[in-house]
């Protein structure tokens, strides 16, 4: 008998259908992978299973009873343990304290010795040896994940959900995790394993369910599904809507990235020896699953992150060591992924945000004095041109909708007629109308002979806009294709690391 049986689950947020007709059956002792792109609805599903969201329709049958969790606590009590992507641990407390937190004792009583013994015993039993006296903040990420797993088991979880567990792990830690999963299965505890990496799913899971656009579209034992098949289901088979793209004669090289290597803040190599070039009048799309080095690559190009090795040229100028300000001056515009964090000063007005990157220059200031009238005029023009609503340029940007905030950034970056526009996820979280508008603006810029480096997690967007498509996986640029000469399945395989050598010409 199935331990978990989900049927016809549906969840709607406003106008967005996040989950629809979701079915899932998990048997005792098996590992069931849920595979899907970013935004396919995996997280929403997990949140409904774990009691964070209430489904709008459908049923969750768990451990022989129909469940309707009102909060995560009820799910935990029922026996559902979830290890979230971002750990829910208190760094300053010890392993034992974190594990027993909220369950142990009554009011303020904490029996350290018993707790530590229990945690030590439990962790050994399940093959996850842990030192219960260590502080969580001193542990490496892999060990912190173990604490989370032990925490769930301590709460007598009958089902363990791992949400993208390998995203933060090193390859060795990943191997160890797989061991743990096998061990749990042997003890009869099933694991739901969320991932977007094909190789991992094939290594660890017995069964796989593929989600796409909020629906479960495919289910099969892992052994009988080929990688091609899974990739095909994952990225879908919809015909790509071709936007009208006039052919622009590709001319001189605008951006060239040579043997670039970049580390992240944790000193992990995130970009490994990447080389490519973007030509005049070209949109170069960079596809890939989130976290494969795109962010670091872009930061290195825009000057926000130091490069460890290699060089970046804008036309024939070496800008590898140039400051952000210098690069702005040289003609690099940048639409950052996190618009509220990096792209805008929310309490500033629309007009103030529109001059953010060039406030020291004419016409925005003269001799150090702000030229408010010029800024206003500039803003009023852009608000009109880019249809930013409402039309009031004195309004704080924080009061605008997400789509209009994005338009403010787009307007600011495009108004400078940049030589190169680096656009990261320019349409993330926007509605269809806003997306279309932004795509139109990007294509118009291209028609003027400007170059665009487009980074997106949406394959549709990449296929719709790009002239050439590069795919990143694990820090490598694994392939570069001419758009039109590559299928979605091929791209999907490259994104999941099934293609490792460069197979297509640049």
């Amino acid at each position: 008998m199935a331990l978990l049986e989900i049927a016809g689950l549906r969840k709607v947020f406003g106008q967005v259908v996040a989950n629809d007709h979701v079915d899932l059956t998990v048997m005792p002792g098996e590992t069931h992978a849920i595979l899907g792109e970013n935004g396919a609805g995996k997280s929403t599903l997990i949140k409904m299973i774990s009691g964070l969201y209430k489904p709008d329709a459908g049923t969750i049958l768990f451990d022989g009873a129909l469940r309707n969790f009102n909060n995560p606590r009820e799910a935990i009590v029922a026996g559902i343990g979830v290890v979230h992507q971002h750990f829910m641990l208190i760094p300053a407390l010890t392993v034992a304290e974190n594990v027993v937190l909220g369950i142990h004792g009554g009011w303020g009583r904490y029996d350290r010795k018993t707790a530590e013994e229990q945690v030590s015993k439990l962790s050994k039993e399940v093959g996850l040896p842990l030192d219960p006296t260590r502080k969580v903040e001193d542990l490496p990420v892999g060990m912190q994940q173990r604490v989370e797993i032990v925490k769930a088991l301590y709460r007598q979880a009958k089902l363990l959900v791992l949400d993208e567990p390998t995203a933060v792990l090193t390859p060795q830690e990943t191997e160890d995790l797989f061991e743990v999963v096998h061990h749990l299965n042997q003890d009869g505890i099933p694991v739901i394993f969320i991932s977007h990496k094909l190789d991992e799913v094939r290594a660890v899971a017995h069964k796989v369910t593929v989600m796409r656009a909020g629906k479960t579209v495919f289910e099969s034992p892992v052994g009988s599904a080929s990688a091609q098949q899974l990739a095909y289901w994952m990225v879908g088979r919809d015909i790509v809507l071709q936007t009208q793209r006039d052919v622009v004669q590709s001319g001189a090289t605008v951006l060239s990235v040579n043997d670039l290597t970049v580390f992240d803040d944790r000193h992990t190599k995130k970009v490994d020896n990447v080389s490519f070039a973007v030509k005049e009048g070209e949109i170069f799309g960079l596809a890939g699953v989130d976290g494969n080095g795109q962010t670091e690559l872009v930061e290195a190009i825009t000057g926000l992150r130091k490069l460890a090795h290699g060089s970046v040229y804008l036309q024939d100028k070496d800008i590898s060591r140039a400051s952000v300000a210098k690069r702005i001056e040289q003609g690099i515009a940048y639409i950052p992924q996190d618009r509220q964090r990096d792209g805008l000063v929310l309490p500033f007005s629309i007009a103030d945000n529109l001059q953010l990157r060039e406030v020291s220059k004419a016409p925005f200031s003269k001799g150090g004095w702000l030229q408010k009238r010029a800024a206003r005029k500039h803003a009023e023009q852009l608000v009109e041109e880019f249809d930013i609503r409402p039309r009031n340029v004195d309004l704080p940007v924080g009061d605008l909708s997400g789509g209009n905030q994005q338009k403010v950034i787009l307007a600011r970056e495009m108004a400078r007629r940049p030589m190169l526009l680096v656009a990261v996820q320019p349409t993330r979280g926007l509605d269809v109308g806003a997306i279309e508008g932004i795509h139109k603006h990007l294509l118009a810029l291209r028609s003027e002979g400007r170059s665009i480096l487009l980074v997106s997690l949406e394959l549709d967007e990449i296929l719709m806009l790009s002239d050439r498509i590069g795919v990143m996986h694990a820090g490598h640029l694994v392939a570069v294709y001419n758009n039109g000469e590559v299928s979605r399945e091929e791209l999907g395989l490259a994104m999941t690391g099934e293609i490792t050598a460069k197979e297509a010409g640049a």
Binding site: G303, L304, S323, V324, A325, K326, R327, I328, Y334, P336, R341, D342, G343, L344, V345, L346, P347, F348, D352, L356, R357, V359, S360, F364, S365, G368, W369, L370
Partner: protein
Amino acid sequence: MKRLWKALSLPLYAVITGLILGAIIMAIAKYNPWSAYGSLLMGAFGNPIAIGNTVSGAIPLMLTALGIAVAFRTGLFNIGAEGQYWVGAMAAVFIGYNFASMPWYFHIPLALIAAMVAGGLWGGVIPGLAKAWVGAHEVITTMMMSYIAILLAHYMVEKGPMMQQGFVPQSPPITSSATLPTILTNSNLSAGLYIALAAVVVVHILLFYTSFGYKLRAVGYNAFAARYSGLPVALYTVLSLGISGVLAGLAGGVQFLGVDYQLTDTFQSGYGYTAIVVALLARNNPLGIVLASIFFSALSSGSQMMQITSGVSANMTDVITGIIIFFVAADRLYAYILRTFRKKQVIAVARKEVQG
């Protein structure tokens, strides 16, 4: 106009709530709050001399609070303005009692510039660089630098190089050429008022009319976006704390050239701390700081009269100050109350429409 009201309303609520709760406490203690507040008001504004002294007390608050506000605007918390005030005072007094032969139009500016440089280096540049280079948090560094400054001032007049000949732990008084003239006879009010008001205008212009001020504010609201825009965030950290220290140092200079004239060994002005409250109440608005510093100065200058005529302890004003701080800090509480109130109104209106 609507925005101005919105900016003013919350601090005003805080002040009114503070005064009302203060009155309730007085009533519970069997004092008459009306006569207490009456005498407080009389003590602070009852005659020209009282007004002069109240305004005089507001001058160092105004300057120090301006400095704190500049730091706040850049997202920095300069908690050591008290120490910057004292290094400014030391520098001004030192210049003030030396160079006796200098004409006033050189002597006064020299003393004030020395005060500003000292305050700027002490409170701004050192903690600023420490933050920019090694990430030392400015709350800690400015506070520690503040203790050093206060103890250094003690040392200076207690057998240190600035001690006057004799046995009294105090510095020599400044010469007449370094003294800021009194502008209201029989009161403490000196020409320092003009300097403070000029500083208010300058800071206001700097913050809101120059590209430099725009950048300071951009860094303060969102350092990530500032970095993305190509601003050297570390440099602006140093500059902002520097300006903050310059203004606190100037406060010390103006106070000693205009009111105190010599260092004595009572190094507790409290201006550096009250000024934090002033800046908070004024929401870092330079013009608001003028009003807020006069308000707090009045609380303190009127409290003596209140104690004498109505018997309420002068410390009562500290209680009121505390309550005001609480409610300024808790402005979300007001926002919440206002919102629920409005929601209820909407529901009431809707009901009426349905029934009617």
